[in-house]
Symmetry: C2
Subunit: 781 residues, 2 copies
């Protein structure tokens, strides 16, 4: 598959598409998608194509199409379509020809720009420039600008644009068709409401026309149709003449915090009023405002600078930071981050452990306030987690594998794609037995606490999560009369190619850790924060829970490395399974190709892993395992891992870096970047890979930067890739902003806040830093 | 708008498209649609286009998307898509170029054929032939055949085809996503169930590949996705080599009469078994079987032969008969005919008075058994009609303006398109106050009875309909103290540009007629069919009803013609409204253009009509009005009628013929034909115009053939258009098949059955015919 991508304008913060192929729209729609955490807008084009996916999602507006489906983010009405008929010819790049094509996302400003000269089948030449933003300043606003210039002929142009509510989620329609309204023939408003969650979406939009700086009113007519409202405009241009169209739209929902208490009518009025004021500003001001917000709230506070032989490396991390911002609902702690952000239908907007394990570290180390908000979300979902535990005959908090709205509880779908052997649908077991997420969330709470020292958070939310997940684990343990130990049987670990396994090492160790941490904190607050202790004791029966922890913790079966080679069994049977030649699949460019030859039941019986499992354990609880063990297991498991999950490569990159293999680490980083930025024009079809994007930051800061929280302490052990001359970035640790500048010779750490001393580990020694420190880099390897 | 249509192969029964424009797909999809009364399949192409409308409807499978919407025919899964990637290039006629293009519907055989040579952007030349039928023999079967030949290059072809359940009705999804299954990697099955009416749709499909006559199994893989299941095949062709693909599919639903009592699993098995047997026959046999059914069940029994200077005239009536067959659910009396047949989403599959007044006459005179079935449907909907009456505080049977499933009652939507003045949606009043349909249905019962003498039908169904609608009318009448008469106020008559009118002439006269007929039949059965009388008396209280009829009938206000000019007021105020210059709108090619300048409230206040209203009254109750009155009203109303309804032209054609204006009648006939067959490539967007198609038959048999039921008698008064040399057709009258052959000199009538004497009127005289009669034509005018 030929790549259309162009990353050569890295210095301008631009990712670009250099040619257009209407068969290959998915990738660019997703990776160039716009957003602000409130909404995510896929970058489908103004004109329409058969294979486009037009998506506008508003975070947290989950709806269930039918009782047999799971809840998902509904695809809102399309606001961005603008169709042109030029001298009677429908404008599409599939007809006629074009030259000077560029489509660019400026990551710094969040502006999408597309330009080309179209030569119609009749030979009319038209210069088009399309600009678009989703405002980071006013999260409800979408603004577009189109510049059209007649080059060689006079043009009669018909323009159709409005609000199209015929969008679905792959055929599932989440909305009822609601009120449609024109105000003064100029402002269009379309309301649709979700069918089950009853959320009203108010879409409001208007178009303005200019020749030069003069606005004008073209001849127009208004059309209302089933599920859509639009206007038709007629404009004539002389050869050489140009015009500008600005379309300003906004989206409000009745679920938005800033719309609480408003009646639908009031919300309609508000949306219209705000639209008029945005329209009055005009596109250029709106784009400027939004770019300023990007500068001030993102780039100024979290600049990562990479001086590399490959400019792409710098671009890639900015790409990651761009997407981390637009996927994260800063504005509302009732929402978390979806596994595809809000850039596609994939995973239905649901949140997985991806948020806590792959994305949260970015926020913990760069924006602790936002990290806290994300953890508050999990706290607010505790009722659902408790219900899930009860429904499964457990106690405590059993977090859902997939999480949506606060009260939803478990929302993992039950059925997947075709089983090539039976011809029937495959059952998805994650929602039932992929249980490690409860420990992962507890781990994230701990990591946040260690990095920030946010005691108020712990008192209010954090302890309760750690205790209640520990209570879940004690209720989950299964006693074996045979070895007199507790086991965790019939689970899916991180490696989803092994279903129904017993004693998955990752799960058992993390459960053990969870209980251990709960006991430690229980002891601590009982001694030091009696009020917190008594409050939680009332809710959770801490006394009873503690007795059980004490009784069971040391009887939990924890797999050990084999004497002979240090290999730790991923689960009870993995090492006994058939070992086949995987080279065919290891070389694959696409993921999941093994399923063209095997079904999941067969893959279950082979020594093949989708992703890091044991390696993930070493990554999270790194202080618990020796480097020798880590290397032995790397050598065993990595060759058996297909990296079919986008969660796999970044973890391996960090571990390769830890093990000192810079070349391999760099190679894995590149591969991780290619998950979204690579040559495969279909890989991001259903949306960007949020965990992988969080993982890109981990590769750089955890891997090459060597920054980690280990056993509660900050450790800094950089190992730059060969190609990199310098890496610098800022992290926050216990309220102090630290600027790290790393090159081959030295590591400079500056405490930008400079108010408190920061303690960190480096090269086996402990340092204390109040202002600035320069350390020689001695790990040349 | 340039026409793409070609009707020059009229002698081959072919309507054709001579060039392809992916912007203008609607018309051909609808007018070339396939079907068999059980299902209607729009003729969208195998490859997909942005502006396509893929529709597969199964008659009677109504579902309501949401309580705020009305029930409609849901758009089933797409079975016909077959996508080709040729040497990596997606095949679409929008790219590269093509030559020798034809798309043809053979009306005689019901086969769609499309062929062309495609030259890909890379210069590969491929000869394509696509064939498709919906079987008239086995109503569940769809069969396709594609012949692909490599002309100048070796080709690697990838083919994607399967079952796609992502279809919606303009965005409304009526189905849940159900089970998907591959059997032996070859047979695909996809089940979806309607969300509210809980009808299971079982779609089953398979593809077979041949080179020459040898079948082969290409490399393939199977894909299940959300709401779809499909296979991917790879085939290589050498330059000069060809292959054939056959795709056979079937559709079953749990609502089908022939599937009653089956569990879903049994239905799945049945569908699979039937598919295998259809597949074994192969496309050519299936197409042959179906063509034979067309010959035997349609063309042999209802041949209309026109010898005209314009071959199009013959083609047009065959086109009408073709569509009349595919739109009519012969197989199930729980269903009627939709206003767009089953060829589009328009009017949601609902039945209107169109069925009884515009289509039923075709069946009454050519296939009385089918006419009876259609009237049985109305009988079966009586409970809903009674409920509607009760809900409106009336008694008797108030038939719904729009009718769907038996129990649904009124299903007219409440909201229409934009009001250009207020910017808000227009309220649709028909469901509330367009009440004449109850009399129209009674009229149809009478017409059927008169033409067939089917006493058993009357005893079982017919009388009850006529009595209960008469009961409705007496409860509907409003007494005025002023003139001591009964009025019918606040209605919409046939002319829907006049809402909320009092004393609409058509409505009042038809109500009067309805009551009069009920009294006549009540007297008759009381005297002659006591058992029927007592049975109906028990159900309807005939004694009480009769007293009320007697009391009110002669006090019903019936508008009279004005003394001075013979003009009868269409309603109480019409003649007092503002009279404007309509020439701008009378000349229009598109309908409804007036609404770009006025809203309905404004149109309501002008002397402008959408369609025949008074003229309709003269048409139905023609014996009641003199020719002078008819002409006076024609001269007044026709210039004020925009013919914005497809129900208008055929009525005017018949009346023009009655009035002896052959040229005008012929002109109106041509215009009526052009509603679907004309140059406007958008006119049939939402489906063919069923009433207009029924009207085409009326133009010929009622108009030019002069055949009519007048006051219960058969009247034959032909008036051929100038251009026609001869017209011959067969009608059935009271069990006798009559063949009429008409030319400029004579009328020959042959009683083909020859069992009973047929009485008819001609030229003011009564004739009796047992065998054959030749009459000179004397109305040369």
């Amino acid at each position: 598959m030929k790549t259309l991508m162009d990353y050569t304008r890295a210095e301008d913060w631009v990712i670009a598409e250099k040619a257009f192929n209407s068969e290959l729209l998915d990738k660019v729609e997703a990776i160039m998608s716009l957003g602000n955490g409130y909404m995510g807008l896929r970058s489908a084009t103004e004109e329409r194509y058969l294979k486009e996916t037009r998506n506008l999602f508003v975070a947290g507006t989950f709806n269930k199409f039918h009782e047999d489906e799971v809840t998902e983010l509904p695809n809102g009405a399309d606001l961005i379509s603008i169709e042109f008929f030029i001298n009677g010819e429908y404008f599409t790049l599939d007809k006629g020809s074009y030259r000077d094509y560029r489509r660019e996302l400026n990551i710094r400003t969040g502006e999408l720009h597309r330009c080309f000269i179209w030569i119609s089948p009749k030979g009319d030449e038209i210069d088009f420039h399309f600009y678009r933003i989703v405002s980071l300043k006013d999260i409800h606003v979408i603004a577009q600008r189109v510049e059209v210039k007649a080059i060689n002929k006079d043009l009669d142009i018909k323009i159709l644009s409005g609000i199209d509510g015929r969008m679905t989620n792959s055929g599932s329609q989440h909305f009822t068709d609601g009120e449609k309204r024109f105000y003064h023939k100029k402002y269009m408003q379309f309301i649709q409401s979700t069918t089950e969650s009853n959320i009203d979406f108010v879409h409001t939009s208007t178009l303005s026309f200019f020749k030069g700086n003069m606005s004008f009113e073209p001849e127009s007519s208004t059309i209302m149709d089933r599920r859509r409202i639009y206007s038709s405009f007629k404009v004539s241009l002389k050869a050489g003449e140009g015009m500008t169209i600005e379309k300003v739209s906004n989206v409000h929902t009745s679920r938005d915090l800033d719309n609480q208490g408003l009646s639908l009518e009031e919300l309609q009025d508000k949306a219209l009023k705000e639209l008029k004021s945005a329209e009055a500003k005009g596109y250029i001001s709106l784009a400027h405002e939004s770019a300023k917000a990007w500068e001030e709230t993102v780039w100024n506070s979290c600049d990562i600078s990479i001086s590399s032989a490959e400019a792409f490396d710098q671009l890639a991390i900015r790409f990651a930071q761009y997407h981390l911002r637009i996927m994260t609902p800063y504005h509302d702690n009732r929402m978390s981050i979806g596994a595809k952000g809000i850039s596609g239908e994939g995973y239905k907007g649901h949140s997985f452990w991806d948020t806590e394990i792959f994305i949260l570290p970015y926020y913990i180390f760069t924006n602790p306030k936002e990290a806290r908000r994300l953890l508050e979300y999990r706290y607010l979902t505790l009722p659902g987690a408790r219900r899930k535990a009860r429904e499964n005959n457990y106690r405590g908090a059993m977090f859902p594998w997939e999480s949506a709205w606060l009260e939803d509880g478990e929302v993992t779908p039950v059925w997947g794609s075709a089983d090539i052997v039976t011809g029937m649908r495959t059952k998805i077991w994650s929602g039932f037995i992929e249980q490690h997420i409860s420990a992962d969330i507890a781990f994230a709470v701990w990591q946040y606490y260690m990095a920030t020292g946010d005691q108020e958070f712990m008192d209010t939310y954090g302890y309760e999560i750690i205790f209640d997940t520990a209570i879940f684990w004690t209720s989950r343990l299964e006693y074996s009369e045979e070895d007199k130990l507790y086991h965790i049987n019939d689970v899916v670990g991180p490696d989803e190619y092994k279903e129904h396994v017993d004693d998955n090492a990752f799960t058992n160790y993390m459960a053990y850790w969870n209980i251990e941490k709960a006991m430690e904190y229980c002891d601590h607050i009982k001694a030091n924060s009696k009020e917190v202790y008594h409050r939680l004791d009332k809710v959770l029966d801490l006394r009873g829970a503690y007795r059980e922890w004490l009784d069971k913790k040391d009887k939990i079966y924890l797999p050990r490395a084999r004497e002979e080679d240090g290999v730790m069994p991923q689960d009870k049977t993995y090492l006994t399974l058939e070992d086949i030649d995987l080279s065919k699949y290891k070389k694959q460019e696409q993921v999941g190709l093994m399923f063209l030859d095997y079904n999941l039941e067969q893959v279950n019986k082979l020594q093949v892993s989708k992703q890091a499992d044991i390696m993930m354990l070493f990554f999270l609880l790194e202080g618990r395992f020796s480097m020798d063990i880590k290397k032995a297991n790397w050598n065993y498991y990595e060759p058996r891992t297909l990296h079919d999950s986008s969660l796999s490569l970044s973890t391996h990159c960090v571990l390769a870096s830890d093990m000192g293999d810079r070349a391999l680490a760099y190679n894995l980083y590149k591969r991780a970047c290619r998950i979204d930025l690579g040559e495969n024009m279909h890989s991001s079809k259903d949306g960007i890979h949020a965990a992988s994007i969080g993982g890109m930051w981990q590769c750089i800061v955890y891997g090459f930067g060597g920054v980690r929280m280990v056993d509660g302490h900050l450790r800094i052990e950089p190992r730059l890739p060969e190609a990199w001359r310098e890496l610098s970035f800022t992290i926050e640790w216990r309220g102090q902003a630290l600027r790290l500048t790393i090159d081959k010779q030295k590591l400079i750490i500056e405490n930008l806040t400079g108010k408190e001393e920061v303690t960190f580990l480096h090269g086996g020694r402990t340092y204390r830093l109040l202002h600035k420190l320069e350390l020689a880099m001695n790990d040349k390897k």
